[in-house]
């Protein structure tokens, strides 16, 4: 019986890992840049599909992770440069652009990839069955936890040890003034959006390996990532970490003890947080 709880906690952590990668990507775009990026779910899906094709062609999973992440970063770069940048600071058109983009991506995925659920094959060496203290658990899931910790650390460095985070926040407050202070805010915005895309792409490959990719899955993913940043607080890295840890456990235990209402359950912390602390656990007062 105890074994069961250990597995539940591990499942929760696995969920947290993927939620964090997703949520931190969205928190960059949504929370920091204030771009209501509704194509985050589509980015995830496209990244996953590209990774799938790479695995299919080469069998090289690390390469797939790289390609999935980088190509979405590139897509983010192009999208920001050619489209979002033109209506920057204008939240409604921005939103519409991201919606339109997600429609296009979803349809393109339908054309080029399967209409049914597919998963990325993780090679055996990355997914050994690991038994620790009598608990048998797939090695790939441990790997996911490690990857997400690495991502968290690098993000922390980028956001808090460089001027990037400050510059983006200042840019959201007053774009003109920040550029008059000698900061190339356009470039910074593009980089942050790229970073957000990179994370979505990585999440897609990770998620597509651990779960599956299926048509129409983008809205579910979008919803989940929104929940993460609502609970954690927009633009807060620590918030994304804590909220994905909480949500991961809720999802895991919810599925074990009240599966019928499991999806409903993840909205409860969200509702609580919004009622008591609308800016999220670690969000700034706005």
């Amino acid at each position: 019986m105890e074994l069961k709880y250990i597995i539940l906690i591990l499942n929760g952590l696995t969920q947290s890992a993927i939620l964090f990668v997703l949520g931190s990507g969205l928190t960059l775009a949504f929370g920091l840049m204030r771009v209501v990026n509704l194509s985050h779910g589509a980015f995830y899906m496209l990244g996953g599909y590209l990774g799938w094709s790479v695995v299919k062609a080469t069998g090289n999973w690390p390469l797939a992770l790289l390609v999935g992440g980088l190509s979405i970063a590139l897509l983010g770069f192009l999208f920001e440069k050619t489209m979002l940048g033109r209506v920057r600071g204008n939240d409604l058109p921005e939103t519409l652009l991201t919606v339109a983009l997600s429609m296009i991506i979803a349809d393109v995925c339908l054309v080029f990839w399967a209409r049914t659920a597919i998963t990325l094959n993780v090679p055996q060496y990355l997914n050994p069955t690991i038994t620790i203290l009598g608990v048998t658990y797939p090695g790939f899931r441990y790997l996911m936890m490690v990857i997400s910790i690495l991502i968290a650390v690098s993000l922390w460095f980028i956001l808090y040890k460089t001027n990037l985070g400050k510059a983006v926040r200042a840019g959201v407050d007053d774009r003109e003034t920040v550029s008059a202070l000698g900061i190339n805010i356009n470039k910074i915005y593009t980089s942050v959006f790229m970073l957000s895309g990179l994370l979505a792409g990585l999440a897609g490959v990770l998620g597509g390996s651990y779960l599956q990719l299926s048509p129409g899955g983008d809205t579910t993913i979008l919803t989940l990532s929104l929940v993460v940043i609502i609970v954690g607080g927009m633009g807060s890295l620590l918030g994304a970490v804590i909220s994905s840890l909480i949500l991961g456990q809720i999802m895991s235990f919810g599925l074990a003890f009240a599966p019928q209402y499991s999806y409903f359950l993840i909205f409860i912390p969200m509702a609580l947080v919004l009622a008591l602390r609308p800016q999220g656990l670690f969000g700034r007062q706005i």
Binding site: K166, R169, A170, E176, T177, S179, A180
Partner: protein, 241 residues
Amino acid sequence: MSESIRNHQASLEISDLQTYYGNSHILQGCSLKVGKECVAVLGRNGMGKTTLMRSIMGLIPPEGGSIRWQNIELSKKEPFEIAKLGIGYVPQGRRLFPSLSVDEHLSLTYRKTGQEGTWDPARVYALFPELANRRKISGTRLSGGEQQMLAIGRALVINPSIILLDEPSEGLSPIAVDLVIDTCRKLRKENISILLVEQNIHVAEALADHVYIMLSGKTVFDSEANKFLENLELREKYLGL
């Protein structure tokens, strides 16, 4: 900013500037020069002083005329490029960032140069001690006057060769105004040029070497500062005093 730019002959030259907001033609031929001196632009409300400053910074790109800074044409450049050429800007109305703390305002643009006498956050805090014990709070939580000080400090840590001040004394107590005047004098000693827009005539009097008068988007008059300010007739004519 590097020492090399500072040692260079600072000179800003604007001629026949034309600037529009949408369809309205705001600057209709505005010309002025700033050497190694303090130049004040005076005029009533709504005459286009701020528009001039913003045009120089590239925030509203002018559609005609030229702005030359150390023989570089600025009118087609992006604001951040202009700022990087050693032009500091204190915008009107402070325009601080609500999401940045006082400390972050100062560290955002500051780059360590390691040289003596450069402006760094510590020096700004020494200049405005009021800011020093407010480091962690959001810039917009400061009192009005403190915000103005921070806006000035924020431009100083760029270590510019010329600084554009748009009503720097607004909201400052008389004692703080004195402090700003002193600071500007110090800047002048460090050979930094100043382009000043002011409504507080005492400040202009204390600092300006040369004044320009703006009327409906045009520079209509200029002269040496003391000549203009001592001439009551001219003051009456252009400033309504």
